[in-house]
């Protein structure tokens, strides 16, 4: 057992994960060697149609066998039919012991619990939310889940840490030769960003569509070069769960107050100038920050260069109004975003690799000025936890948290000081997702708390009249006073989750919860 840079105890070897590399700092590890690659394929003119009759035929053609790794992407979100459809078919075909490598899982996938229990899935590398998270936290899987960020995942694939045997790609539109796009069709989801690396590196790629178009389909987002088989099904997802309606700015006064402080911090920072770039996601507070920033940008007459990450209709509005020049979209959240990415050339689809991988020739996050994030808890050293809840259960994926925090010049975590009775600021987070080294400020309803290493920001905020700056000590003591003492999480020794930093080193481990 050794301690990593943050003092977290990490075993040298974890059963079901392998040998560990200790987290040494956000930018410490430098890669060596060459990228991994998928199997070389050869398709000649005797094959002019890659269609097969159904999912089982596709699985059979892919050569998928027990013990292999299958990958999925989550652009269909809570409307996704693909994951359940494929795993059900695997179960019926007697395939077992699979490693599931999704970019994220949703509530709709809770059906997988039965396949975890019957041995079809024995390992998950990806976020485990809701009921699956609870099952894993209570020791329901033999081997630990591995949590990677949106950038850490393509890094792991390209570096050969994870080898994908078969990638299943949900294709809102496809042609018979495997050209795909996400912007057209009844199940349109916009960007297919997370799926690109899988298509590029998997040994076999299956496209599943409910909108087959004559060859060649247009527009094409992912081409026939990497797709081996096409399957047509009646439906790949439920549109109501794929995209939300118009994303509206919250009316919750507490969230608006926090958003206002966060926006004022951005305005006070040196980055609030012509060409500012930012990522704010779709959450209540971040979206409200965008609304306040918009007002401030108009007032001061400045324009942004680009908005990044998960894109909402609100960002599309900024693009239309000329307040940002470009949108770089890895995931389109609502109908407006889906429409825009299909029509507007300034709204660009980017892969997760492009978005956030630390080991390529430069990810988009490196160009970010400001990011607004959340966290379930943050500690006195500004370490943030987004994976586990206060009760120690694995409930959330890492998403782009680590990557954007590492890339952006100003990383803000904005959220209420308490959720119910649970404080979000604590002496020591239960598990670390993102190190305090890359977190610049916490914003709560009590004001702005700046990481002491950012004296420049502290000075900038102090110079603004009426901007409440609260020290971390003050914030923690307030949280203690309001919530009272909380019982520590009781765990077994067994590790059920490994939290990787985006470079593949282990930043923390999550242990099995003791039975209550």
């Amino acid at each position: 057992m050794a301690k990593n840079l943050l003092g977290r105890e990490i075993p040298d070897f974890i059963e079901g994960y392998g040998k560990t590399k200790l987290f040494q700092g956000a930018f410490a590890l430098k890669p060596e060697g060459y990228r991994a690659g998928g199997k070389i394929r050869c398709v000649n003119s005797t094959c002019t149609d890659k269609r097969v009759s159904d999912i089982k035929a596709a699985i059979a053609a892919s050569g998928l066998k027990s013990g292999m790794t299958v990958s999925f992407h989550h652009h269909l979100r809570n409307g996704d039919y693909i994951v359940n459809m494929v795993i059900d078919a695997c179960a019926e075909m007697g395939i077992k012991n699979l490693t599931l490598f999704p970019t994220a899982l949703f509530g709709v996938h809770k059906k997988l619990i039965e396949h975890i229990k019957n041995g079809v899935i024995t390992r998950i590398m990806g976020s485990v939310n809701g009921p699956i998270g609870q099952l894993v936290s209570e020791g329901g899987m033999e081997v630990p889940v591995v949590l990677r960020s949106h950038g850490g995942r393509p890094r792991a694939v390209a570096a050969g840490d994870v080898h994908i045997d078969v990638a299943f790609i949900a294709a809102p539109t496809a042609d018979k030769y495997g050209n795909i796009c996400g912007t057209q069709g009844k199940s349109a989801c916009g960007s297919l960003g997370y799926a690109f690396t899988d298509a590029q590196y998997a040994d076999f790629v299956v496209a599943i569509t409910d909108n087959l178009q004559p060859y060649p389909a247009a527009p094409i987002s992912m081409s026939q070069l990497n797709v081996d088989i096409v399957v047509e099904v009646p439906s790949i997802g439920d549109p109501a769960g794929i995209v939300s309606g118009t994303t509206k700015v919250t009316r919750d006064p507490l969230r608006l107050l926090i958003a206002k402080y966060a926006s004022e911090l951005i305005e006070a920072s040196p980055y609030f100038k012509e060409g500012i770039s930012f990522q704010t996601g779709a959450g209540g507070i971040p979206l409200a920050v965008t609304a306040f920033m918009k007002e401030a940008m108009i007032k001061k007459g400045i324009k942004g260069s680009f908005g990044l990450g998960g894109i909402t209709g609100y960002f599309v509005e900024l693009l239309k109004e000329g307040l940002v020049e470009r949108l770089m979209d890895v995931q389109s959240f609502d109908l407006e975003a889906v429409r825009s990415i299909g029509e507007n050339p300034k709204h660009i689809e980017i892969s997760a690799d492009w978005y956030a991988n630390p080991w390529n020739s430069g990810a988009a996050v490196n160009m970010l000025d400001v990011v607004i994030l959340g966290a379930t808890e943050v500690d006195v050293d500004f370490n943030a936890n987004v994976n586990t809840e206060a009760d120690g259960a694995l409930l959330h994926g890492t998403g782009g948290h680590q990557d954007t925090a590492a890339g952006a010049k100003l990383t803000i975590i904005a959220q209420p000081l308490l959720r119910g009775r649970i404080p979000c600021v604590t002496d020591r987070v239960y598990s670390v997702t993102t190190p305090g080294e890359v977190v610049d400020a916490i914003v709560t309803e009590y004001g702005i708390t700046i990481n002491p290493k950012r004296k420049d920001l502290l000075d900038a905020c102090s110079a603004v009249k009426g901007l409440p700056v609260v020290s971390m000590d003050e914030l923690v003591s307030r949280a203690h006073k309001m919530s009272g003492p909380t019982d520590p999480v009781e765990t077994e020794d067994r590790i059920i989750g490994v939290v990787e930093w985006r470079d593949g080193t282990v930043i923390d481990v999550v242990r099995q919860l003791k039975k209550k």
Binding site: R251, P253, L254, L256, L257, E445, M482
Partner: protein, 289 residues
């Protein structure tokens, strides 16, 4: 300043804890309409607890007690008046000077019992009936404790046997009457709440209207209304610049021993200087004064 006085339900610890963070000029911890009959005691205890150890920032803290026609009002007063955090009580359904006097006497007795300087607890009177509006001046002058008079919204409309319209036609005369009575008595006229909490444009329009009538501020039912009302009541940059000029000129004239002074070709006399000073106070530039 009483631009905004925010109601906080007395039975909601979450709002009581964070209410002051929204930056209103005042808070009204509500024991009356926001609290169901079965929760009157709970709310009273909770509000008492918050007055003892809660945080209120720089807000003026008041408690809306239950009406003198209920069994609760004396218990309400006894529970809240002893705490130094409390600056005033908001009394509902004040119809006449007699109601004010009854409350005044009870307050005096509690203050005396608790060794509190006599008269410390101010009274904010809610005039929620036609009779109350008719007696506005008498009510405002019934006790030196009266700090403000406020027209009712819903109750007054019901008493007038009409309904609430988006234009506020039915409250028009009552509002004008109330401003006259308040100004004549030297107390603050504060407007009623704007009930449609997601109608920002409607709130702005109504606030502009009542500001023009002469109101000092508005009662607030949702924190999101605060910045809109402040925005209307806050002086514009032009108004501030003009006020700064007037105050500076007046100061210079006083130093030279002159009374009247000319600014931008217009004679400026004492009322104008006073108004300019008030503008700067509202703009948070009171140190200039």
């Amino acid at each position: 300043m009483r631009r905004t006085m925010l109601y906080l339900p007395g039975n909601n610890p979450n709002m009581l804890t964070r209410g002051y963070l929204f930056g209103s000029d005042g808070l009204i911890l509500d024991l009356e309409d926001a609290v169901a009959m079965v929760e009157k005691d709970t709310a009273r205890i909770l509000v008492q607890h918050f007055l003892r150890q809660g945080e209120f920032g720089s807000c003026e803290v008041t408690v809306r007690i239950n009406g003198v026609d209920t069994e609760y009002w004396k218990d309400d007063l006894a529970a809240v008046v002893p705490f130094p955090a409390l600056q005033g009580i908001r009394a509902p359904k004040v119809d006449d000077a007699k109601t004010v006097k009854i409350i005044d006497e009870e307050l005096s007795s509690i203050e005396e019992k608790n060794g509190i300087p006599l008269g410390r607890t101010k009274i904010f009177c809610l005039l929620e009936t036609a009779k109350g509006i008719w007696n506005a001046y008498d009510i405002a002058t019934a006790s030196p404790r009266v700090a403000a008079i406020i027209p009712g919204g819903e109750d007054l409309t019901a008493d007038l046997k009409t309904s609430r319209s988006s234009e506020g036609t039915e409250l028009d005369w009552a509002r004008r009457m109330l401003v006259f009575a308040a100004r004549a008595a030297g107390v603050d006229p504060i407007d009623t709440v704007f009930p449609r909490v997601s109608d920002d444009a409607g709130l702005r329009k109504e606030t502009e209207f009542i500001k023009q009538l002469g109101f000092e501020g508005k009662s607030v039912i949702h924190p999101n209304q605060i910045p809109i009302i402040h925005n209307v009541f806050n002086p514009t940059e032009q108004e501030i610049a003009k006020a700064l000029k007037i105050v500076a000129a007046a100061k210079e004239a006083a130093e030279r021993g002159q009374g009247a002074v000319s600014v931008d070709g217009r004679m400026v006399d004492i009322p104008v200087v006073k108004r300019a000073e008030y503008t700067l106070l509202k703009a948070g530039l009171s140190e200039v004064k």
